[in-house]
């Protein structure tokens, strides 16, 4: 990829490295391979959201046609968010699709993703289950998202009740993540989750 894409990514690195804006929301980019085609991003959960205190790792793949086409980004860290698949980490964000513009950079993409964590769009969902919970039971959604942040992104907020329910399912021989997904999908109703898992 000895072309404009590699050149651009190199320049973007140079330009963002030395941003002296040391501030609240941390963003990080690392190279995964040496030819600038794959990168690892990291964003901190925005304050005053269920994601606060968590660190979310992203997979960034730079296509050969970058910057004329957007980078392919997905969450590696599991996350409970209406616009991000809780299974694959796929992201539903317009600027990563048809609203991409060639002047956008890795920096603006990461900042946009951080903004997405702070402002979900449940009417344009990637994960229908999460989106439905968001619209029907916002408090339950926040609780679940906080729990996932704690479980997968190193968030500080521990919810003993959730952990207890998961442990009961694990004791029944269910894998931990599977148990968490089932409980999250059924608003932490242990009975219904169990029913679904054993049906």
């Amino acid at each position: 990829m000895a072309n404009i894409a590699a050149q651009r990514i190199k320049r973007e690195f140079k330009e963002v490295i030395r941003s002296e804006e040391v501030a609240k929301c941390a963003i990080k980019v690392e190279l995964v391979d040496n030819n600038y085609t794959e990168l690892k991003g990291e964003i901190a959960g925005p304050p005053d959201t269920p994601y606060e205190g968590g660190n979310f790792v992203l997979e960034i793949k730079v296509p050969e046609t970058y910057p004329f086409n957007p980078p392919k980004v997905r969450f590696i860290t599991k996350i409970w968010h209406p616009n991000i698949s809780s299974v694959t980490g796929a992201i539903c964000l317009d600027i990563l699709k048809d609203q991409w513009a060639a002047a956008m950079t890795l920096r603006t993409v990461l900042l946009s993703l951080q903004a997405l964590l702070a402002a979900a769009e449940p009417d344009d969902p990637q994960d229908a289950v999460v989106a439905r919970q968001y619209k029907e039971n916002l408090e339950m959604f926040k609780l679940t998202a906080r729990h996932w942040t704690n479980a997968y992104a190193g968030g500080p907020s521990v919810n003993p009740e959730c952990d207890d329910k998961i442990k009961r399912l694990v004791d029944m021989g269910i894998e931990e993540h599977q148990a968490r997904v089932a409980l999250s999908s059924y608003n932490w109703d242990l009975e219904r989750a169990t029913e679904q898992l054993f049906s």
Partner: protein
């Protein structure tokens, strides 16, 4: 030389930001910093910084390099022509400015000709061709000499007789010098070609109608 540690940074960029907008100022200060690490230390850091700030103002918004065959959109954003051309080709049905998403098109892009920067060669010979500058003739002054003599740009036409014949004469431009054609390949030229074809067909249809009527 400045500390070597900085040159290793490209493999690991850690940055923090508060605002979510791409600020030219921030980009400028970032690049100026990087550039100073490359400097040989011969100049004072301040002069160098100022120079680099100036330079980054002339960077293409797509490749982030100094703009080559520079063009400017009507919304004022600077690009290399090859970069912008490729962007427009990528989404032919949805042509927007890569910076501000204003509607743009090949026709509405202005090339920049710096004094020292353009060589004798025509930039349009390059691939992809850069759009031509849009140059409109100034209004002719009051000092025209006579009627229809010379190339003063003053044209008169008299319509005599009934409608069809007036139409006829004007269709064939009898007795009138033709206005200057636009430069080859320019939008104006294409338009004129198209119009002349349309009128030729109209005239042929009209003659056919006259014969059969």
């Amino acid at each position: 030389m400045r500390p070597l540690a900085r040159q290793e940074l490209p493999t690991k960029a850690v940055f923090y930001s508060k605002d979510t907008s791409v600020s030219h100022k921030i980009m400028a200060s970032a690049s100026e910093d990087v550039e100073t690490t490359r400097g040989d230390g011969g100049e004072s850091p301040n002069t160098k910084d100022d120079e680099k700030k100036e330079e980054s103002l002339l960077e293409c918004n797509i490749c982030l390099d100094t703009a080559k065959d520079a063009v400017v959109s009507l919304c004022g954003h600077l690009f290399c022509w090859p970069c912008l051309h490729q962007w427009l080709e990528t989404r032919p049905n949805h042509q927007v400015c890569p910076v501000c998403k204003a509607a743009i098109s090949k026709e509405k892009v202005v090339p920049l000709y710096g004094r020292g920067s353009t060589k004798q060669e025509d930039p349009r010979d390059k691939v992809p061709p850069r759009p031509a500058g849009q140059r409109t003739e100034p209004e002719p002054g009051n000092n025209f000499s006579g009627f229809g003599f010379g190339d003063s740009g003053f044209h008169m036409s008299f319509g005599i007789g009934a409608f069809p014949f007036g139409f006829f004469t004007s269709t064939f431009n009898i007795g009138e010098p033709r206005p200057n054609v636009g430069p080859h390949g320019s939008p104006q030229y294409m338009e004129e070609q198209f119009l002349s074809k349309v009128f030729l067909w109209l005239a042929l249809l009209f003659i056919a109608w006259l014969l059969y009527a």
